[in-house]
């Protein structure tokens, strides 16, 4: 029983790490821009596809094992850097003052367009590139074989992202400027802060986080049309449970969902699919603003 629980925790940590990487970008963007971005799922998918493409190209070179991990980060930077500013400037900046329903519709439309773009570029056949997993190799816990990628790298990157993000927002000037705009855009603007620039920066960073989530997921899964849909639905559950705009809450919720799901697989497999949503309903019944949410203005 103890061993089973340990195994469930290890599996849950890896899954939670991936979910957190996507949800944190979504919650950051909402916290600052107040836009619920459905196209976030597309950035996840495109990040995964670009990482797989770069990984395949790198695998053909002599330095393949050494490049397996850096290409994941490179994919996130490329996708975030290319798509984030374009989408923010051309689309989102025009709808900040519009109704939330319209914002949802616009980002949903973008999501649909990007889904078709993925099919145009990468087709519909599953794509798999697991060089990063192979580069790190397997490790045994008892007589259970895990991959180092799953057991160490994913939770490690998630932890670094969480700590780094909290440090950035609380200890750096740019981070504090973002928090200031989040608290009160008018007051921050009156004090000379360029809110538009903060929005652009935050959205680009959020896009990068989504793409990094996809890039990190790509070595462990087959990339097929629709992977963005699955992830965005789960991310919304995480963000709603955590409280919109709550980064620490997203981490805690992702952990709850990851552990809940893996414990369910071990002890009640029928509940695996519904566990994230059971957690969400229970939390929202008790705390309608989410675990860390509150009716106050602070969102980051």
């Amino acid at each position: 029983m103890t061993l089973l629980l340990l195994l469930a925790i290890l599996d849950g940590l890896a899954y939670a790490a991936l979910v957190f990487m996507v949800a944190v970008g979504l919650t950051l963007v909402f916290g600052v821009l107040r836009v619920l971005n459905i196209a976030h799922g597309s950035f996840f998918a495109i990040g995964a596809y670009v990482a797989a493409t770069l990984g395949t190209a790198a695998a053909a070179t002599a330095a393949a094992p050494a490049l397996a991990l850096p290409v994941l980060l490179l994919a996130a930077v490329l996708v975030g850097g290319a798509l984030g500013p374009v989408v923010e400037k051309l689309l989102l900046s025009r709808i900040y003052v519009k109704d939330h329903v319209l914002q949802l519709l616009v980002t949903f439309a973008l999501f649909m367009v990007l889904e078709d773009v993925q099919k145009l570029i990468w087709g519909v056949q599953p794509i798999f590139q697991d060089a990063a997993v192979k580069a790190l190799g397997p490790v045994e816990v008892g007589d259970i074989v895990y991959t180092r990628y799953q057991l160490f790298l994913l939770p490690g990157v998630a932890a670094v992202t969480l700590i780094g993000l909290m440090w950035f927002l609380r200890r750096t000037l740019t981070g504090r400027v973002i928090v200031a705009v989040t608290h009160d855009r008018e007051a921050a603007t009156a004090m000379g802060i360029d809110a538009q620039r903060v929005y652009l920066l935050t959205f680009t960073f959020g896009t990068m986080l989504a793409a990094l989530g996809g890039a990190l997921a790509s070595p462990t899964t087959s990339l097929v049309p629709g992977i963005g849909v699955n992830m965005i639905v789960l991310s919304f559950a995480v963000v709603a449970t955590a409280g919109l705009g709550q980064i620490e809450g997203a981490a805690l919720t992702a952990l709850l969902i990851g552990l809940g799901r893996s414990v369910a697989v071990y002890f009640a497999p029928e509940f695996e699919v519904v566990i994230p949503y059971i957690i969400m309903v229970v939390v929202l019944l008790v705390r309608p603003y989410g675990i860390f949410g509150s009716p106050e203005l602070r969102r980051v």
Partner: protein, 438 residues
């Protein structure tokens, strides 16, 4: 009777109006200028991994058929619709194709839910419909349709054949785990397997029944659980990207070293997963087809198709391409037989559908017969993976072609009830395996 000018004008007007008023089928005996073929398949979403190869096969074969004179001298024009948005959308599209586009025949669909809805609609519209890929056995077990036939087998033989293969190859197994997708196919295929297994080999302990979410991208937890449980056999009817992911993750974590895998749909994943899939895995092909089919691989028909398909799409054909080919070859054979029976005149829809029942026709890898209830009968190809130098992915070895009379329930019976009557004799009645040859 005197012919007045008014009567003559009325008769002329009525004659001119008839073709536009009457439905197309009422004047179907006239040879049309083209045969309009509606095709529903998945063009988007995860199931497009099957839907697009099916569409590709249709494009290629229709071109080839038209180049050789079409069907009965009539060229084919296809209209393809996406079944991904759901059943209601599909039904609307089928109505539109029948009533606005003047489609003569419909080829539907991949999803069993789609076929269960389209077959009754075909009756309403009196639209000849060939069910080209969907697997549920319920369609012709629970209803009788005049305007629908299926040019492939169904879920019962597709699951019973791999079970018989396992019982022959590894009769001593005593524990089993299932990892199926959590939707109708995953649940139904497990019910068929469990019913048949309990009948033929009672006492097998099912140590885990895992049904990950449809569209799942991670099976790490399930794999850890399976490693801890160490079942003798792991059975999975998953497909597409999910099966690929399951295979890759299981291989990375050495699960194949601990259990015998039975994967009835893995023929469609062989090229994609490559040699990540180790030797010794029992693989099915959803019918009597594979591009290296043991008895048909040297025929010009199969070789030419495989080469043309590969040249155009840079992939080897997988089972949906063969299912589409079976539908088109069946349609051609049905029309040609109906035309011959009709004295060389173009048949009505009813004549066509009456001819389709009992029809026997050749396709890329063998011969298929359509039963009186509309259900197609074909052997089931099952083999075990083997690594060879000539292909960068596993090939099938020790292949058995299970005849339909051994693995398909007879007309008038229900598959899930029939499998409970199977006995160990079914394992012994299987034909001899055919070894891989380079």
């Amino acid at each position: 009777m005197r012919l007045t000018r008014r009567a003559a004008l009325s008769a002329a007007a009525a004659t001119l109006a008839v073709p536009t008023i009457l439905p197309r089928n009422a004047i179907a005996q006239q040879r049309p200028s083209e045969l309009r073929l509606g095709i529903s398949t998945f063009l988007s979403g995860p199931s497009s991994v099957f839907g697009v190869p099916g569409r590709n096969a249709a494009d290629l074969l229709i071109e080839q058929l038209n180049a050789s004179g079409g069907i009965g001298g009539v060229p084919i024009r296809s209209v393809v619709i996406d079944e991904a948005p759901g059943v209601d959308f599909l039904l609307g599209e089928c109505r539109r194709l029948a009533q606005n586009e003047g489609v003569d025949v419909m080829l539907a669909s991949i999803s069993s839910g789609s076929c269960l809805a389209v077959a009754p609609l075909a009756e309403q519209l009196r639209l000849p419909t060939i069910l080209w890929d969907c697997g549920t056995q319920r369609i012709f077990e629970e209803n009788s349709f005049r305007y629908a036939v299926r040019t492939q087998a169904n879920a019962v033989p597709e699951i019973v054949a791999p079970l018989l293969y396992l019982l022959r190859a590894r009769p001593e197994f005593s524990t089993l785990a299932v990892v199926n997708q959590d939707y109708a196919w995953g649940r139904d295929s497990w019910a068929i397997w469990k019913g048949a297994m309990d009948a033929i080999k009672p006492g097998v302990r099912v140590v885990a029944e895992l049904f990950p979410r449809f569209g799942a991208t991670d099976f790490s937890t399930e794999i850890t659980r399976l490693q801890a449980l160490r079942p003798d056999v792991i059975f999975s009817t998953s497909w597409g990207g999910e099966l690929d992911t399951f295979i890759r993750q299981a291989a990375e974590r050495r699960l194949f070293e601990r259990s015998t895998f039975v994967l009835p749909l893995a023929e469609s994943s062989l090229e994609r997963v490559g040699k990540t899939l180790p030797p010794g895995v029992i693989v099915g092909a959803r019918g009597d087809h594979w591009f290296l089919h043991p008895t048909a691989r040297d025929t010009e028909l199969l070789k030419n198709f495989t080469e043309a398909y590969r040249r155009r799409f840079n992939l080897y054909p997988i089972y949906p391409t063969f299912h589409m080919a079976q539908a088109l070859y069946g349609l051609k054979a049905g029309y040609e037989k109906a035309i011959a029976a009709n004295g060389g005149r173009w048949p009505s829809r009813e004549q066509l559908m009456d001819t389709m029942r009992g029809l026997e026709f050749r396709h890329l890898t063998g011969t298929m017969k359509i039963r009186d209830d509309g259900q197609g009968l074909e052997p089931m190809l099952v083999g075990v993976t083997r690594h060879v130098d000539s292909y960068p992915f596993p090939v099938l070895d020790q292949m058995i072609l299970y005849p339909p009379e051994l693995v398909m329930n007879p007309t008038g019976t229900k598959g899930v009830e029939w499998v409970r009557l199977l006995t160990p004799a079914a394992v012994r009645r299987a034909p001899a395996p055919i070894a891989w040859r380079a």
